[in-house]
C-alpha cells in the first residue's frame, strides 16, 4: 500500500469526486445525472477502502465493511431514482431535468 501516497491518493479521489459533481452540475439528462452521482459515490467508496489501510487508531466499523454497505446503498438509491424518473417520463415524456421547472420562485 505504500505505493500510493496520501497526497497522490487524495488527488485521485478528488478527481473522481470532482468529475461526479461536475456531472451533476452540468448534465440535464436524468440518467446521466444518476451516473454522475454514482461516479462521485465511487470516490467515497474508494476513500473508505484506502483509509482502511491507514495506520490510524482503528475501532468500530472497518473501512472495507463500510465500502460494501455503501455499494449496496448506492444500488438502492439508483433504483429509487429510476422509479421516479420513469413516472416522470410517463407524464411529461422527457427525462430532461431542465424541462421540469414548474415549481419556482
Amino acid at each position: 500500500m505504500t505505493d500510493l501516497s496520501l497526497p497522490g491518493f487524495l488527488a485521485l479521489s478528488a478527481a473522481l469526486f470532482g468529475i461526479g459533481v461536475f456531472g451533476i452540475l452540468t448534465r440535464r439528462n436524468f440518467i446521466l445525472l444518476l451516473i454522475s452521482i454514482e461516479i462521485a459515490m465511487n470516490a467515497v467508496i474508494l476513500n473508505f477502502v484506502y483509509f482502511a489501510a491507514f495506520p490510524a487508531g482503528t475501532s468500530g466499523l472497518s473501512g472495507q465493511s463500510i465500502a460494501v454497505v455503501l455499494v449496496g446503498f448506492a444500488a438502492t438509491e439508483v433504483a429509487v431514482g429510476l422509479a421516479i424518473v420513469l413516472a416522470l417520463n410517463r407524464l411529461k415524456g422527457t427525462i430532461n431535468v431542465a424541462r421540469a421547472t414548474e415549481l419556482k420562485e
Partner: protein, 532 residues
C-alpha cells in the same frame, strides 16, 4: 447479548416495522381502506410513542419502559465503539419524531377512503419513521448516515407516491437529485473523517478532540458533512430544493417533511458537530494544514455554524416576506426556523441545545399543523394563493383558530409554545455570553421580521372579505364528480382531531412549558456532558 435484551430497546422500531409490514401485507391482499391502514399506522405510532415516553422516565407510563434507566446516558467503555447508544437526548428526539408522524397519520385518515395510494403512503410513512428513530440512537457516523438515507429514500417515494401528479413528481425528482448529491457529500466527508481519525464512531471522534494526524482532512471532512447534512435541515444555501418540494408534494407529505424528517437533520447536526464545536485548542501545527498554519477548531466551527444560522434565518424570512403562495410561504418560514435551531449547536452549551430542541419540538407542532391546515383548506376547495384564504378564518372557525394559533406561535407571540421556545433559545444564547449575544439579536430581529408575513396571513384570513362563492356553496366539497364529502364540512374527523390536539398543545405548552422543558434540558445536559 441475548435476543430479548437485544430486541428490548428496539421495541418502538419493531412496532413500527410490524405496522409497516402489516400495511403492505393488507395492500397485497387488496385491503386498502384508509381507515384501516391509517388506523394501524396511528396505533403503531402511538404505541411507539408511549414506549419512548416511558423510557424517558414518564412515571404514569413506566410499565411500558423497555430501556433500563441504567443504560441511558452511559458513556461506552474506553475503546468501545458502539453503533448505537441510548441517550435521553435521542429519546426526546424520538418522541418528537413520533409526535410528528402521529399528527400526520391521524390527519391523513381524513382522506378519501378509496384512495389507492393509502397503504403505500402509510407504509412509507412508518418506514421513514423507523429510519428517524434509528437516527436518534446512532452513535456511529456511518450508522447515522445510513439511517438518514432510510428516511430520505422513503421520503423521495412519499413525495411521488401518487405517481400521477406532475408537480409531485417534479418535486420528487428535484428532491432526489439534491438528496443524492448531499448524500454523496456526506459520505465523502465521512470518509475523510475516517481517514483522519481512523474510526467513524462519534464517541471516539469526540474524545480525540484536536489530537488529529491530518487536520486538513478533518476540516474538509466536516465541511462536506455540513453541506451534506444541511440539505436535510434546509440551511441556506442548501435549501433551494425544499421550497419546490414542500410546494409540489402532497400537503400531508409536506407536513411530514417540514415537521418530521427535517428534524433528523437537526439532530444529526447536534450529534455530529457537538464534537468539533466543543473541541478546545488548535489543530494543524503539523501535517497538512492547508496554509501550513493551524486552526482554532471549536471557535471556527462556532462561527461557521453561527453564520450559517444567521444567513439561513435571514434569507428565509426575507424570501417569505413577499411570497404569494401559502405553501411556499410556509416553506420559507420553515427554512428560517431551521436557522433558529442551528443557533443551539453553534453555541454548543446545554442550555442552547435544550433551547434549540424546544424550538424543534415547537416547530413540529407549528409547522406540521400549518401544512395540515393547508391540506384541509385544499380539501375544501381553497386555492394555493394566500389571497385565496380571504375570510376563511371566520367561515371555518376550526381552521381559522388553529391556523391562527400556529402562525402566532411561529411568530413568537406570547402564551404560545413558539414564544417560549424562542425565549429559552435566545436566553441560552445570552447566557453563553461572548459574541453569542449577537446570535440572539439576529434571531430576535428575524423573528420581528417574520411577524409581517404571518400577520399578513392573519389579516387575509380574518379581516378581508371572503371571495364570492364560485359555483359550489361554501362548506361543501368542490367538484361534484369528486370523492364524497367528508364529515365536518370536508375536513374529516381525523384531521380535525389532529389540528385540535396541535392547537391545544401549542397553547398548553405555551402557558406551562415546564412540562417539556424540564425533560429536554436534563437530556441536553447529559448529551453535552456524556456525548452521543
Amino acid at each position: 447479548m441475548s435476543v430479548s435484551s437485544f430486541a428490548g430497546p428496539f421495541v418502538p422500531e419493531l412496532v413500527l416495522l410490524a405496522g409497516t409490514l402489516l400495511i403492505f401485507l393488507l395492500d397485497v391482499l387488496k385491503v386498502r381502506r384508509i381507515e384501516l391502514t391509517g388506523g394501524i399506522a396511528v396505533a403503531a405510532t402511538l404505541a411507539a410513542l408511549g414506549v419512548v415516553v416511558a423510557d424517558l422516565g414518564f412515571a404514569p407510563l413506566a410499565f411500558l419502559a423497555t430501556v433500563p434507566a441504567s443504560q441511558i446516558d452511559v458513556a461506552p467503555a474506553a475503546g468501545a465503539a458502539p453503533l448505537f447508544a441510548f441517550t435521553s437526548f435521542g429519546l426526546v428526539f424520538q418522541a418528537i419524531f413520533l409526535l410528528a408522524t402521529f399528527f400526520v397519520a391521524l390527519a391523513s385518515v381524513s382522506r378519501p377512503s378509496d384512495e389507492r395510494g393509502a397503504p403505500i403512503f402509510y407504509g412509507l410513512l412508518l418506514l421513514a419513521t423507523i429510519g428517524m428513530l434509528l437516527v436518534a440512537i446512532a452513535s456511529d457516523l456511518i450508522f447515522l448516515l445510513l439511517a438518514i438515507e432510510v428516511v430520505s429514500i422513503a421520503s423521495y417515494l412519499l413525495v411521488a407516491y401518487t405517481r400521477k401528479d406532475v408537480r409531485g413528481l417534479e418535486a420528487a425528482m428535484k428532491f432526489f437529485v439534491i438528496g443524492a448529491l448531499s448524500t454523496v457529500l456526506s459520505f465523502f466527508g465521512a470518509s475523510l473523517l475516517f481517514g483522519a481519525y481512523g474510526t467513524t464512531n462519534l464517541y471516539l471522534i469526540r474524545a480525540a478532540g484536536t489530537a488529529v494526524g491530518y487536520p486538513v482532512l478533518v476540516l474538509l471532512g466536516y465541511g462536506f458533512l455540513i453541506a451534506g447534512l444541511a440539505f436535510k435541515v434546509t440551511l441556506v444555501p442548501f435549501h433551494a430544493w425544499a421550497v419546490d418540494v414542500y410546494d409540489g408534494a402532497p400537503d400531508d407529505v409536506s407536513a411530514f417533511l417540514a415537521g418530521g424528517t427535517k428534524k433528523i437533520g437537526v439532530f444529526a447536526f447536534f450529534l455530529v458537530f457537538l464534537g468539533p464545536v466543543l473541541a478546545v485548542g488548535a489543530v494543524g501545527s503539523s501535517g497538512y494544514g492547508l496554509f501550513g498554519g493551524s486552526v482554532a477548531l471549536g471557535a471556527s466551527f462556532q462561527i461557521t455554524l453561527g453564520a450559517l444560522a444567521v444567513v439561513t434565518m435571514t434569507v428565509g424570512n426575507v424570501l417569505a416576506l413577499l411570497q404569494k403562495e401559502m405553501k411556499r410561504m410556509l416553506a420559507y418560514s420553515s427554512i428560517s426556523q431551521a436557522g433558529y435551531m442551528l443557533i443551539g449547536i453553534a453555541i454548543g452549551t446545554a442550555p442552547a441545545l435544550g433551547g434549540a430542541t424546544l424550538q424543534v419540538f415547537a416547530h413540529v407542532l407549528m409547522k406540521t399543523g400549518a401544512f395540515l391546515v393547508v391540506g384541509a383548506a385544499a380539501a375544501i376547495g381553497v386555492g394555493p394563493l394566500i389571497d385565496d384564504w380571504r375570510g376563511l378564518g371566520l367561515k371555518r372557525p376550526l381552521l381559522g383558530v388553529s391556523f391562527a394559533l400556529m402562525l402566532l406561535s411561529l411568530a413568537g407571540v406570547p402564551l404560545t409554545i413558539g414564544f417560549v421556545s424562542k425565549f429559552v433559545l435566545f436566553s441560552a444564547a445570552v447566557d453563553a455570553q461572548g459574541w453569542f449575544i449577537w446570535l440572539a439579536v439576529a434571531g430576535l430581529l428575524n423573528s420581528a421580521l417574520s411577524v409581517f408575513y404571518y400577520a399578513r396571513v392573519l389579516k387575509v384570513m380574518f379581516f378581508d372579505a371572503a371571495p364570492a362563492p364560485a359555483g359550489a356553496p361554501a362548506g361543501s366539497v368542490v367538484g361534484g364528480a369528486g370523492p364524497p364529502a367528508l364529515p365536518l364540512g370536508g375536513i374529516g374527523y381525523g384531521r380535525a382531531a389532529s389540528l385540535a390536539i396541535i392547537a391545544a398543545l401549542i397553547v398548553a405548552f405555551g402557558i406551562y412549558p415546564q412540562a417539556v422543558l424540564g425533560a429536554i434540558q436534563s437530556a441536553a445536559y447529559h448529551f453535552v456532558t456524556v456525548g452521543a
